[in-house]
């Protein structure tokens, strides 16, 4: 086993960092009205969840945490592709990225 990362980092500190980043992402989703910022905040939240999984995987010396990270990263890639497609549609239709304008759709 390589000699890196042998100094102990408490599990809680990894989870605390994930919690702070998740809340920041949630705050971004709640406060911003520009759709690009909302998508970016969703990415922040997904990334925080990935950090929690990595921390759990490291705690039990298990590869499952990193497997879940790979699943999350592919989910994020698919979500961003569709989301940015929607951003392009929104901008071509309304010439703005204001999410509130979508209430005009009356869906």
């Amino acid at each position: 086993m390589p000699a890196i990362s042998m100094q102990a980092i408490p599990v809680e500190h990894g989870l605390l960092l994930a919690a702070v980043l998740f809340t920041l992402g949630l705050l971004g989703v709640l406060t911003r009205r520009n759709m690009v910022f909302v998508l970016m905040s969703l990415e922040i939240m997904l990334n925080a969840v990935a950090l929690a999984f990595i921390t759990g995987g490291a705690r039990w010396a298990n590869a499952d945490g990193q497997i879940m990270f790979i699943m999350i990263i592919s989910l994020a890639a698919a979500e961003v592709a569709v989301g940015l497609g929607l951003v392009l549609r929104l901008f071509h239709q309304f010439k703005t990225l204001d999410l509130d304008i979508l209430s005009k759709m009356k869906g």
Partner: protein
């Protein structure tokens, strides 16, 4: 190694905070890329070198470049910057912040109550690969299906 963890954790939090408060989209994206790179260092210190490499290549490399392409395609000028400045008034963000603060406090409380345990091991890329194409091979297939669906959906939505 633990010093590296706390340092890059601090960088990640500050960069994320800057990313969600910027007026200009490109500035926000650059701050977010910095946050992702800090996160890659954190993954490395937590003993997940493969995840750290994926974070840099896929997240900071591919996904953020997709964002930058879209921002460049939209070509938003000074007018949107004015609009953003108008939207980012304290009256807009103070309510959600007050509502998000208890959530953060609860999470911090719950997590810090758990017993003191330490991280000591490195999970190598070899172990991850063996697990990925052993018991989790169905998940890999489903992920490829999801990516295909994302590709088709993005093509359908973004076409003229």
């Amino acid at each position: 190694m633990s010093v590296l963890f706390y340092l890059s954790g601090f960088v990640a939090i500050v960069a994320t905070l800057m990313a969600i408060t910027r007026i200009n989209v490109v500035h926000a994206l650059l701050y977010f890329i910095l946050s992702l790179l800090a996160m890659a260092v954190i993954f490395y210190t937590l003993g997940a070198p493969f995840a750290a490499a994926l974070e840099v290549i896929v997240y900071a490399g591919a996904i953020m470049v997709l964002f930058l392409f879209v921002v460049m395609m939209l070509n938003m000028g000074k007018a949107t910057e004015q609009q953003e400045r108008l939207w980012l008034k304290p009256s807009m963000w103070i309510g959600p912040s007050i509502l998000a603060a208890p959530l953060l406090a609860e999470l911090l409380l719950v997590i810090s109550r758990s017993g003191e345990q330490t991280l000591t091991t490195v999970v190598s890329a070899k172990e991850v690969g063996i697990a990925l194409f052993g018991p989790y091979v169905l998940a890999v297939e489903l992920a490829s299906l999801l990516l295909l669906a994302g590709l088709v959906g993005a093509y359908h939505l973004a076409r003229k």
